[in-house]
Symmetry: C2
Subunit: 438 residues, 2 copies
Amino acid sequence: MTLINETHDPALRSWVDSANRPGHDFPIQNLPFASFRRRDRDDAWRGGVAIGDAIVDLAALARAHPFEGLAAEALAAAAQPRLNALMALGPAHWSALRLALSRALREGSAARGTVEPCLVPQAEAEYGLPATIGDYTDFYTSIHHATNIGRLFRPDNPLLPNYPWVPIGYHGRSSSIGVSPQAFHRPRGQIKAPDAPAPVLAPSRRLDIELELGVFVGPGNALGEPIPIGQAEQHVFGIVLLNDWSARDIQAWEYQPLGPFLAKNFATTISPWVVTLEALAPYRVPFERPAQDPQPLPYLDDPGNRAHGAFDIRLSIGWQTARMREQGLADHEVAQTSYRHAYWTVAQMVAHHTVNGCNLQPGDLLGTGTLSGPEAQQAAAFIELTQGGKRPLELPGGEQRTFLEDGDTVVLRGWCEAPGAARIGFGACWGTVLPVRT
Amino acid sequence: MTLINETHDPALRSWVDSANRPGHDFPIQNLPFASFRRRDRDDAWRGGVAIGDAIVDLAALARAHPFEGLAAEALAAAAQPRLNALMALGPAHWSALRLALSRALREGSAARGTVEPCLVPQAEAEYGLPATIGDYTDFYTSIHHATNIGRLFRPDNPLLPNYPWVPIGYHGRSSSIGVSPQAFHRPRGQIKAPDAPAPVLAPSRRLDIELELGVFVGPGNALGEPIPIGQAEQHVFGIVLLNDWSARDIQAWEYQPLGPFLAKNFATTISPWVVTLEALAPYRVPFERPAQDPQPLPYLDDPGNRAHGAFDIRLSIGWQTARMREQGLADHEVAQTSYRHAYWTVAQMVAHHTVNGCNLQPGDLLGTGTLSGPEAQQAAAFIELTQGGKRPLELPGGEQRTFLEDGDTVVLRGWCEAPGAARIGFGACWGTVLPVRT
């Protein structure tokens, strides 16, 4: 099986000049998909592909009928307001469209005259959710996060015995998933101090982030028909950045015995651009399980997953307070990690989710869980970075932070680089905390 | 505030004769809504209202334009394939349509000539989900169930300290919710025997039911805007029976720390007919909290909720094995309880769910959780009725059961009766276990 093809060639250059700028998130080797419209106009939502600083308007392009066969079918689906129809088509269609777009956007392409009128500057666009998300599942695939947070919630019992065996996951809330940039109100909830006799209803004082990736499901499976791990990735369209905002004080009081609920369902922010699994092929790495740990059960094990089931997606967290913004200070990077440190892969999430017959549908979203790495500075939530709020972070301008204050903005970033491959990026995932609503 | 109006008058009779049969679930005082089509025809799904053994085809009725004002608007919404648009309209519209239908269906109504051609026999119908369910939340509102099952999963710590304060809930799976009659395959999953060193992937051997009610949300709320308890019921359209099938062996191994996942998301069955909150008005009872328990926090407390926030909905569980079916034996009632025993009300579920700003949407479904009552024979799951599988139930024909065998059918039933009111019912909620798929 060849994972890399001509669309990944690092020597490719586009006639869209900005795409050739070193370090740009959206070179011609990336070609991520989003749902967009022109800001301040009453345009309909439609699919787009990022190239440099521009978007290829796929609805406009579809009207020009530039492609044939599978690529044309995929383009028609991608022209819709949301990408569910494109996601439903599967890898052969996605790959055909990617190849056709790559060829049309290359320097010297004869299709330039057809495509160029379909370009929209990203500066003039706003984004919608890439898909109508039927169900949102959040996993827990970082053993480092599970151990760190387990230590805070259950000091005597940080990592539970099922962790090395079960890709732990739970269902999240679809309705409150928003696209970057998202501003949301600080949640209220029941909070009980350890020494208080009763809880009170109060605004969360321990508002946190969780740096995750979000996996968009492609073709689904029928109820009762599990997806074998060897076919799992054919059911995955692509990946976005995901911020699973979390109110730790609400969570601590409510989460037993049925799991987090109001601590997490007030807002979840994803980045607008879906980077396809095909675009991520050059950054695959082997799935490695520590020798002392149990090997995955057969339904979670597969030669392809072992050889290249993990992804080296580099991730960072930036923090910007309202005062920093007023002073013209950019967000300050407080942590950096990689998806390669996850204990369970995308394929394992899909195989586990469906092993009982549960049906996935195109556009469903699977969160990876907080992607903390093995080192302290690779922690992907503030509760870990500040050791439960005990060690504040120092920010430029002299401010300190443990948890989020009103007006704070968090920006997640993701990118990939590998020897012999281009650098590609995910764009950014911005979220801002507004005061509680009373 | 008057909860009862002319539509509840127990003396009302319909020109649809079967609706006047004593003990029928669908007298003229009920008027529940479903989405249906004629079986074995290529008809479109549309809304219907049950009256006796018939369905008023609301799409056909809408074409006759029999109503005016709010009732006409509600009828147009109810003619759609799913009832989300009707649910979005709110109580004034629902009430106007109910009154118009009640008057049109009464003995002697001048509208009979218009309505009668729109009747479809229920025997010729099949049902779809009443709504496109965006998010499904399952609560845990029976303290009796929480105590019983807590004792089995955590013998030393059955009822957690947050229970009397927090209407515990968690997110469930929307994609696998089906409408009665539903047949589904026995799930496989990771199961670990207490003394085994490692889990195995195997078919569930402890397949159970949970007798619940499902609450369909009406008008939603914007993200960040909580619904006060005093307005909560205005956001509720109606109630169905709900069977939350549960694989106890999978649940025991996977549920910590984030709650049940694959143990429950393989199938959830609801009854097709949504009984409106207005139809349930005569069967309201006070919300009572045991004197020794803490009173609800102010955001969960309200005079209306105290006076009539609970519902005396009688519920039963019937069991029918494949052999019983072959022998012509009806399902055997193994338990009977009432929703009145719940520790938290519908209004409290809505107020709690949104207190953090989480947005509900029309057609969202809220499960009540397993509605076990205080007595042993009022337990609403087999794991409780059989004391963890240790005391089998005796069935007619000589069979014994603890958990579900392949071919077993479970039927949930619900009905209401009260002095000075008609008897109304929910219909039945059927589900059958098929062998595991290999």
